[in-house]
């Protein structure tokens, strides 16, 4: 069994006339953190949206755990074990923490697939457990998410990804809008994923964060990959020049 978790080869994507992704290759091993950097419009978001099934691929190939895959929608990506924490908020403010953790993948007692009775007891217990596992302490699964702080919400999002035993985690600007303390917590958390063999892609504008946390750094500019190297081979200043 190879160490390869995800392998993308020659990915291309056009938005109308805009060639947003040009022959991009990307490899991630188990337990590896990739720092993905680049200026706005460099193609980072396009790349990860293809991997997590939000956008389709124009041409190119994706292999996951050695098998060729065709990720048509977010559900397929999640079924493979690719979880994504999007830059924009994917929490439902009016809904409780328990509902948010399980939304789209609710444990049910019985019924037809899309009309089944929720197992609320399990949702409440397991959501609190999942949240505890990521180091957060929230008092009740019934609290609506709108009452949580930015960091707590991010914690719930991470707990959601972790609960479903992801093999790969994509974090798109996970530390935006977070306090210093909360940011440290998220970074610490991503570090801890390495030991359990989860590969992750960490996207951030904050190159210091990326440099601190990543094993390998991939830089993008104008839809192309411009660098791919172990972080030991580079410095933050060099990175700034590379993607500028």
């Amino acid at each position: 069994m190879s160490k390869d978790l995800l392998k993308c080869s020659k990915l291309n994507k056009w938005y109308g006339n805009l060639h947003a992704l040009k022959n991009v290759d990307l490899e991630i091993n188990k337990g590896e953190v990739i720092g993905l950097i680049g200026d706005n419009g460099a193609g980072k978001s396009t790349l990860i949206k293809i991997i997590c099934g939000v956008h389709g691929l124009d041409n190119g190939e994706i292999y996951f755990e050695g098998h060729k895959v065709n990720i048509k929608n977010p559900k397929m990506a999640m079924d493979l074990g690719i979880e994504t924490i999007h830059q924009y908020n994917t929490m439902f403010q009016e809904m409780s923490i328990a509902r948010n953790v399980f939304i789209g993948r609710e444990p049910v007692k019985f019924g037809l697939s899309s009309l089944s009775i929720l197992n609320e007891k399990k949702m409440n217990l397991e959501s609190m457990k999942a949240i505890k596992d990521v180091g957060l302490d929230l008092r009740s699964p019934h609290i609506p998410v709108k009452e949580l702080s930015g960091g707590e919400r991010q914690g719930v999002a991470i707990a959601r990804s972790m609960y479903f035993k992801s093999k790969m985690l994509i974090l798109d600007e996970p530390t935006n809008h977070l306090s210093v303390k909360e940011t440290l917590k998220v970074l610490e958390y991503v570090q801890s994923l390495k030991s359990i063999g989860i590969g992750s892609i960490f996207i951030s504008h904050n190159l210091y964060h990326v440099h601190e946390i990543a094993d390998r750094i991939v830089g993008m500019a104008r839809g192309e990959k411009v660098c791919d190297m172990p972080k030991e081979d580079t410095t933050v200043n060099e990175l700034i020049k590379l993607i500028g």
Binding site: I103, E106, L118, R139, K146
Partner: protein, 326 residues
């Protein structure tokens, strides 16, 4: 003593302000007119109540999913007209005819969904078009004069009298309980709220928002059609103008009952309370012999007041910060 926690969860319920206004008006109306708080009067109100409440219930579910339907008034006419034509002209069994009448409503809901969701047209416009089209279909298929309701048609199971009430109230209660259960206790219910609050996020989490919305459009349409059939059975006649103007009353009921035009908020119970509020206002105007033209004024004022109250209570609920020991 109420705990802060209980007060907070009470205040943040979408139907809270409607319920508060409801209790307030009952108290006031009781003082204004001694005939108001009288079981006979309430039974009169309740005998026509299910028809409007079913439409409001459907609209509420659709509004929670983030869409809107102006065509319910026309569907309210199409379903009974299709049903009566099938019974009178084609001599089909009345149950089969009713089911086909509801199928026609479901089809209209489906078309509304396709136009809105697939072509990304605001549901306001899509269903405004359907309002005219469905009304026109109602007139055309019946040649302007729908067949009269056969005298021997069994109607008791749907609108028969039980004391002063009608059987239709039990249909309403049953359907409302089912809707409430689906909204609050099933995965599909969760997806309706999620889709209404943040469609993109729901999609990214693997929810098929297209089918969620389509199903809600169909539920809304079928409930409107069923309400129309109930009314035609009750008044024993079908006319092509059945349900004209009903869409705005139903939307008013839904909004007064706490459903948000932005989606993601609302409840089945709220729809029932909202509709009841509209009807008791109408009732007190009649009892007090006030010029009926004030009805629209009262409904308009009620909508504005209910929505303002909704916003205020929601804000104050959000402000109640709970400490760990609550």
């Amino acid at each position: 003593m109420f705990s802060k926690n209980k007060i907070k969860s009470l205040l943040s319920r979408p139907e809270f302000s409607a319920l508060a206004i409801f209790i307030f008006l009952i108290v006031v109306f009781t003082f204004v007119n001694e005939r108001f708080l009288n079981s006979r009067n309430f039974m009169v109100i309740l005998s026509t109540y299910p028809e409007l409440a079913l439409v409001a219930l459907g609209i509420t579910i659709l509004m929670i999913s983030g869409e809107f339907d102006l065509s319910v008034g026309s569907v309210f006419a199409v379903s009974p007209i299709v049903t009566m034509i099938l019974i009178a002209d084609y001599e089909l069994h009345y149950i089969v005819s009713i089911l086909l009448g509801l199928l026609a409503a479901a089809f209209i809901g489906f078309v509304n969904a396709i136009v809105t969701v697939k072509f990304k047209i605001p549901s306001f416009i899509a269903t405004l078009g359907m309002l005219f089209m469905a009304r026109s279909i109602a007139v055309v298929i019946s040649g302007g004069f729908p067949p009269s309701v056969p005298k021997d048609l069994p109607t008791d199971w749907l609108v028969g009298r039980v004391d002063m009430l009608r059987v239709s109230i039990f249909w309403l209660i049953g359907i409302a309980l089912i809707c409430n259960y689906i909204l609050k206790k099933t995965n599909f219910g969760s997806w309706i709220y999620a889709t209404g609050e943040n469609k993109e996020a729901a999609k990214d989490l693997g929810i098929n928002t297209f089918w969620v919305k389509t199903t809600c459009f169909i539920i809304c349409s079928v409930l409107a059609g069923f309400a129309g059939i109930i009314q035609s059975f009750r008044i024993k006649t079908v006319i092509t103008s059945l349900g004209q103007g009903l869409e705005l009353q139903a939307i008013a009921s839904a909004v007064v009952g706490g459903a948000s035009l932005m989606g993601g908020i609302g409840s089945a119970f709220g729809a029932l309370i909202g509709t009841f509020l509209l009807l008791i206002i109408d009732n007190i105007l009649i009892l007090s012999r006030i010029d009926g033209n004030w009805f629209k004024f009262a409904v308009g004022a009620l909508i504005v007041i209910a929505v303002i109250l909704n916003t205020l209570t929601k804000n104050s609920a959000d402000k109640i910060r709970l400490k760990d020991d609550d």
